[in-house]
Symmetry: D2
Subunit: 283 residues, 4 copies
């Protein structure tokens, strides 16, 4: 039973640490989510509750790994961007990959019943990959690529399901849209279904952007009575979805405050410059 | 919104496929499971229900990826061995790593309430890694390493918790065991607590070995009445825990049979030759 | 001038060590050797002196790195096979790759004038790559692949240059051979040029196999007179081309002997079993 | 002899392409150059001819691979920096590594007799590695690291060999210098040997920087007489050491000019900003 004579096998583990000083992008994608969405009757083209569940699981990941400074989600995928300087797990790719996708998956199942109305029928799975980006431009182009993808898919799906609801079969709707430009899809929506695509919910058109926000939490009045912690509200997608570490306390006007940070979800454009000008994210 | 001008970022994904014709070992480990076990009042030194839950989640993984021909679990870790010839996901390391650990984690949460008596308080996480072994000897030595580790830890833990239950503080028990040989720990158990270590449950001493087993399932009598599917029974650790793909049907003595395979759990020695002689696993 | 504030850049070097217990094959290939052969008037289809120079440079590499147990060369390429157990340079791929190709290239230029009749006009270059093979079968198939390639190319080239010498233009010869089977090429050689391909030199048909051979070198008679070291003879391709480390001395019949090993070149079949049965190379 | 049944072994080659948009630094180092320098009686502490030979071999590499925009050499090492955007050999690490070190090694032997006064006794070898740098700062810090290393070693060696020439044994000189600061070494040189270190040759203190320079070569007067090409002059280290591709021709004042670029060697500071401000190298 001497363990030592077998321990040489540890030497077969190969190093897989990521190049320093590069932005580390970890994207996860649902596996077989077409079938999963059917099985659980997801609303078409977008299931707001399922999307909010994705955001909740992503928030749980950010809470745990605060070197993630931005995350972006759409459909059944989420991208987490780690600080260029992160040394989490010594930047080992497999450790980062596996821990994040594991926590996300466990959170998705754990929070399912808080968000969804149907019971979970079977455990879902996500895959993940890590891609490194050496320059700020490359990183922004990555995020632009994902948000442009969200827009293109959502416009298509909005048209597709409108056509299907109006009586077309799936193949007929597909054929109808085949080769159409964006402008043509906008026209179909407007002329045939009275839908102005611009008025569609931002969450569907833009996806979800998760960022850290600093705030002061009132923790107790100086007479000692505690102040309630607000719970998660699946319907409120744009408010804080998770609460980070407390950093320090202060006292003001008879109350004690704790400086905290939390993850906030928004559905803003991240392709143009203004988001990046307004948020000092790319040191 | 032209996606194409951003798509060059896909070119930053690096290939990570695994060397062909090597056994691919994927091991996952609980993250922060010391705290997780405390929070959920796991029995010490072994929580049989938690171990069976691990086996259940591992079975779910094997069901999904049938190129796994053996899996071995102990404590909060599980190793999955893929056939040398597997071409699953083109042998891409990150795809294999992430999908397996994701499905395992989701399954662990999904099946929690079927096994555990306390509610799950927060989502757990596992990390995972892939190691390649070029020879049958290397692979067997890997599995021997893990099973020897199981034995060593279990003997220590059995002693430790016996001492703690008898009134020692944790540090005192630790000090008492510091530097002791296996034989000395056996003596402590026998002399002080009347425990013959050899009689401890095989599952605790050997861990769990998951293998595929072929069987014929009686699916209906020829008069057309269906035959029930037996559900999962958390208390029955050694029986099949999952049912695989049906392969073909046959008819015999008035019944229709389907040839199926299922995952079976056992707690046998995999260090010696007899296990390998009896199971034709290493082509 | 403080070096220390810059030294962090060393941390950007990534580990690239090769999986243990696999055969490490390092193949180098001439870069732009079509032009190089033209510039130096290499004989067609095979320049025996240039091939022997390749063997000489390869021997120099084996002398330096005795973990290479076999090397195989043909045309402007050479493959070096390191023992499965080698730990040379900690199995770091770039260190192995670069040192071998560097020594080979420097040796090729250094020994040029010993072998070739025309002066070297410009420095040649070789590229190299490392491929790992986990099983003896894979390794043998690799070497078979290279030797089959040698045969196929040599039969083609022998035909091609016979046709060109007989008056065809290059394109005409190419067209004539396009799509022909081996048997047809043999017939062209025999019927049109009276060449029985089987009688062509083994070095051209089989390439060169370099192996280690143990021998006893007579170093001095016991009366003290020294015994000459035989030099390199470019014309003698099949004799030892390099002399390895002395290992021990012995005395016999009035002479002192040193046990040495040397690299020997042969042109034998390495596809069939007999070579491997006769040489105990694959532990 | 069917090659096809063996060709599967090609599938064992693993991809090793370098992350896009990073500066690719390829450094090569002499192997066993302490012994090599002794065997060839290199002058101590610096052999100007041997250094110029290194520069010549490096120039040959730059000529061949014009995506190298700067190279830096000192002692028996050379660093080549490829443009961030290079796609040479598809950025495959082993192809880049091996081809550069091979051409450098072959060139070193090829040009030996043009530079050195003693014959080459045996072929030298160099190893090489590739390191990627994502930011301009990282790249500059890399080059600063090497130049600071040059300075530190040269100051030490200048002291050491002055002490040895003055009669100390190697170990005594080593002991004397052990733990001394730069200022102390400067004082030893000045007080004991009358050497003002600042007046030592720039090539020894700073190493060699190789850059591309555009120029117009007068190729013929319009009366048709040709104009001679100036050869290599080993004594002239600071002039062009290699001539690049011609790009275009022009005619002026009765002469025809060709726009060409050539590699120039200088011995300037590359740690401070002014070099980088004056050369537009980091796009």
């Amino acid at each position: 039973m001497a363990k030592s004579k077998f321990e040489y096998v540890k030497g077969f583990e190969m190093s897989d640490s990521c190049l320093p000083n590069t932005w580390l992008v970890l994207r996860l994608d649902g596996r077989g989510f077409h079938r999963f969405a059917m099985a659980h009757n997801f609303a078409k083209p977008n299931d707001i509750l399922a999307l909010n569940l994705m955001n909740k699981a992503a928030s749980a990941v950010m809470q745990e790994f605060q070197d993630i400074f931005i995350a972006y989600g759409q459909s059944d995928e989420f991208s987490f961007i780690f600080k260029r300087s992160t040394n989490l797990f010594g930047r080992r790719a497999s450790k980062l990959l596996s821990t994040v996708v594991s926590l996300f998956s466990a959170s998705y199942v754990f929070y399912w019943s808080q968000f969804m109305k149907t019971p979970l029928l079977y455990p879902p799975a996500f895959d993940s990959r890590i891609v490194l980006y050496p320059s700020a431009k490359n990183l922004r182009d990555y995020l632009s690529w994902r948000q442009a993808d969200c827009h293109i898919n959502n416009l298509y799906n909005t048209c597709f399901w409108s056509l299907v609801e109006s009586g077309l079969k799936n193949e007929e709707a597909q054929k109808r849209l085949n080769g159409t430009e964006s402008s043509q899809k906008n026209e179909i929506l407007f002329n045939e279904f009275g839908i102005n695509y611009n008025n569609e919910p931002e969450q569907f058109k833009k996806g979800s952007v998760l960022l850290w926000e600093n705030y002061h939490e009132k923790i107790q009045s100086n007479d000692g009575s505690s102040v309630g912690d607000s719970g998660n509200d699946p319907g409120k997608a744009n408010t804080e979805s998770a609460v980070g570490d407390s950093v320090m306390e202060s006292t003001r006007e008879g109350f004690t405050f704790r400086k905290r940070k939390r993850v906030v979800v928004s559905h803003v454009d991240i392709i143009g410059d203004s988001f990046w000008d307004n948020n000092n994210l790319l040191d």
